[in-house]
Symmetry: C2
Subunit: 491 residues, 2 copies
């Protein structure tokens, strides 16, 4: 299997597109902007789902399922939400097809026109808050901590596999609370949960922060986010958690009786991560040889490739491998013994490198005689010969080491790519050359933010939650600024 | 919590509708025909999913994800498929909304009309086989054993929660094979897998069989099914597995080179079960007091209700319960200690009966003194006093006993409701009175089948796989018949 992968320095964007397809993660479908997630890619997403789902449940959330369709009128009920979402979306107008009278095929039946159009959900706040009105009467019904795993559709004009597709998979949490403080705590807690997931499972270092008003979710009063930096110096928003105030409760008339019997509107949050995380995962760790996966999310953690001539040698290897496979599985390690006789070892080595399998063991006649395995780690491509009696413990510690190593490598890259600048000239140069995160002073106005975006394509990724107070002057207008905010070009 | 549940004898259909809502399983949404699956209902579905997903993976299947939308032209490619599915479905015709010029709200933007309409998938054979054409070139690429968990939409005119909804959740397996025999084996294997799941996890006895030609899936050459019988004597199709021949391969031009290098069309299967299984589960076991759940699928297997006056008594109970909860959780048992002070024990007893929690423990001051628990099982409503030292082992064996007991009860009901009849008059009387499965002779023609359906509303549920040869005469036409087939009215 020749990889023929464009190198990152040659064309980062092309490298990404090729890698997603060649590593069998996803591909474009016959439907504009909609992707097919292939089994290998989906297996990674399932591991992400499992880890996140566990974390949601451990923090008291339950899963539920709400309709795919949203009546058009629901979208209009929250004023800023409609501005953000009632634009590019898939609209269902009819509910029947029929055979064309001229025999040319099937056509939409004009008589089956919906009285009110249905929108394929771009996000579910409206349909969920319409439901919450029926579920919430009293403080005893609160908090309501729900999540759903679902597909959503946003009719993007320019799409890229995982990063921006018309249909994508995500989870969306929607919680309801009796007090503002509790809702705000929930939104913040989820930001920390997302960061923990990104760092511990994806080996993805992230910066936690809040969005500026112009970058907030449509309908939110505060948006918390985690922001990551890709190898090409562009940022990627990896997850958002919104404090929605009482906006949706007011729009959908969701009131509750508090302990004193007084009626009040319910406080809300919503939060989500999507298959976009797959894009972040791929772009953060992978190299010119293919995918590099964190062991915690790798569908195959260890692959064993036999090197043999004839079935006799293969049988001898297979017999030896059998107990090793069992021993590794007992330790909860996912292992694949690739004994296909249709492909040569070199082909298999290439394939598993491309697919980012963290550890590869090769075993041939000489290894059998010496009682060793040849072990190769995907992150550094280093090889070592390991005595059979140590191989299980070596693998266990190496999987942990790889997980930590790729995190540290990504962290170092981010730190090396984060600069403070004080003048707009410097800023523009930096953005045009190496990119990265740029900490700069800003006057706090939407106009200045927009001017910077127009002129440089950089946006304010976030105001980091641990930002240090530092009186300064906006690099554009010279007006006073209390701290630096983080700019970058972003995916 | 007063249950106020209509009894089954009074109105079985009303009993079902009320139970689904009152037990917090699901409810109708603001979108016609689309349901909201509530957290308690979804938790049951998640358990079904987990068990099935494990079984699919153990039999070599992998998950993937294909687009929600299907271009209209795809549906037309397989002649009988289009007849079956290109009818009542949600049609996306536009991809943008805009503000109305008269300020009256948002309207569909006529300029954003799709060149080709997109259908929200009613099932995914067409989009998947369009993809398989790119994935399959050689026998080395086969078999391809994929499954997806997804939402699908069929624009049903009359809907009922779980049983028939416009949108529902399901899994759909789509496999590709090099030979007819292998595809047929796969389709049959899945029927057995579904039956095993239904019987072992849902405690739902099923009859395995094949469908007659008129009842087959649109595009299938053979449809295997599992059929269950509800308490009201109506049958419910609980899962189907289709041998699709080369129909979709031909429609989408999916060929492969076999070992001899010769090109041939690929053989296919597809199979699915849906949230309809929730309806089957509810209707099979539940009674006039509410839901009865098999322990293997119950979100809460054991609930503990304290009976106390004042916080001092509650604290004493809570202290004692703490170690019991831990001991049960260590055994993998899901347990809830309901110490809410907002509701009385009687209310809680009613609530957990309604929600079908298999075992309820009550513990009060006297139990503390005597070292006992009051244990109630949901299936028989029997109570017993259990010494504290035996309670964990009693619970473990009782959970198994309940699982077996409700299966046996359902099996006995089915056996008592299965009759052989020889004349059409007898048949009509039986269908109109007690219903149930009726084994009768049929001449094998679609006309007779349709006549029976027109006149009695009964359909042929299946030709059981273990049907015994028995020469007879069709009860309607008197023509020869080689064996009895199974009729019933069905959901």
């Amino acid at each position: 299997m020749g990889k023929n992968l464009t190198s990152r320095t040659e064309d980062y964007s092309k490298w990404y597109n090729e890698l997603v397809v060649k590593a069998d993660l996803a591909e474009n479908s016959g439907v504009r902007g909609c992707m097919v997630i292939k089994p290998y890619g989906f297996a990674i997403w399932e591991k992400m789902q499992a880890a996140l789902d566990k974390m949601f449940k451990e923090t008291g959330h339950q899963n539920a399922y709400f309709p795919l369709f949203i009546p058009k009128s629901y979208l209009s009920k929250e004023a800023s939400h409609v501005e953000g979402f009632a634009k590019e979306c898939a609209v269902v107008t009819h509910y029947r097809l029929k055979n064309a009278e001229d025999g040319s095929g099937i056509v939409v039946d004009d008589e089956a026109k919906l009285e009110e159009e249905l929108i394929v959900r771009p996000t579910s706040e409206t349909i969920i808050w319409d439901t919450y009105r029926r579920w919430i009467q009293s403080y005893r019904d609160l908090p309501l901590l729900l999540n759903q795993w679902a597909n959503v559709v946003r009719w993007e004009m320019r799409t890229r596999l995982f990063l921006r597709t018309a249909e994508f998979l995500w989870q969306e949490g929607h919680t309801a609370h009796a007090t503002k403080e509790e809702a705000m705590e929930e939104a913040e807690m989820i930001m920390h949960l997302y960061a923990e997931f990104a760092e511990n499972h994806m080996a993805l270092p992230v910066i936690k922060g809040t969005k500026t008003e112009s970058e907030r979710f449509a309908g939110a009063e505060e948006t918390f986010c985690i922001e990551a930096l890709m190898q090409d110096g562009k940022a990627l928003q990896a997850g958002t958690s919104h404090f929605l105030g009482q906006n949706f409760a007011k729009a959908f008339d969701v009131k509750f009786a508090n302990k004193e019997g007084k009626q009040d509107y319910v406080w809300a949050t919503s939060w989500g991560v999507s298959t976009r995380l797959m894009g972040a995962l791929i772009m953060t760790h992978s190299d010119d040889n293919g995918l590099v996966l964190p062991p915690k999310l790798a569908p195959i953690q260890v692959v064993i490739v036999p090197i043999y001539k004839g079935t006799e040698q293969l049988d001898a290897i297979a017999e030896k491998i059998d107990s090793l496979v069992k021993a590794l599985r007992e330790k909860g390690i996912t292992v694949k013994f690739d004994d296909r006789d249709t492909h040569k070892p070199g082909f298999k080595f290439n394939e598993y490198e491309l697919k980012g399998v963290p550890i590869r063991l090769a075993v041939g006649q000489r290894d059998l005689e010496n009682g060793t395995y040849e072990l190769a780690r995907r992150d550094t491509l280093e090889k070592q010969s390991v005595p059979a009696e140590n191989v299980v413990t070596t693998i266990i510690s190496l999987l942990e080491e790889i997980q930590a190593n790729i995190y540290n490598k990504a962290l170092q890259h981010r730190e090396a790519s984060t600069q403070s600048v004080d003048t707009y000239d410097e800023f523009k140069k930096m953005i045009d050359s190496k990119g990265g995160f740029i900490a700069a002073h800003w006057d706090g106005t939407a106009e200045t933010e927009e001017k910077i975006q127009q002129e440089t394509k950089a946006t304010i990724r976030c105001i980091p939650i641990n930002v240090e107070p530092e009186a300064g002057k906006c690099m554009v207008t010279g007006k006073p600024s209390p701290y630096r905010v983080l700019f970058a070009k972003a995916y």
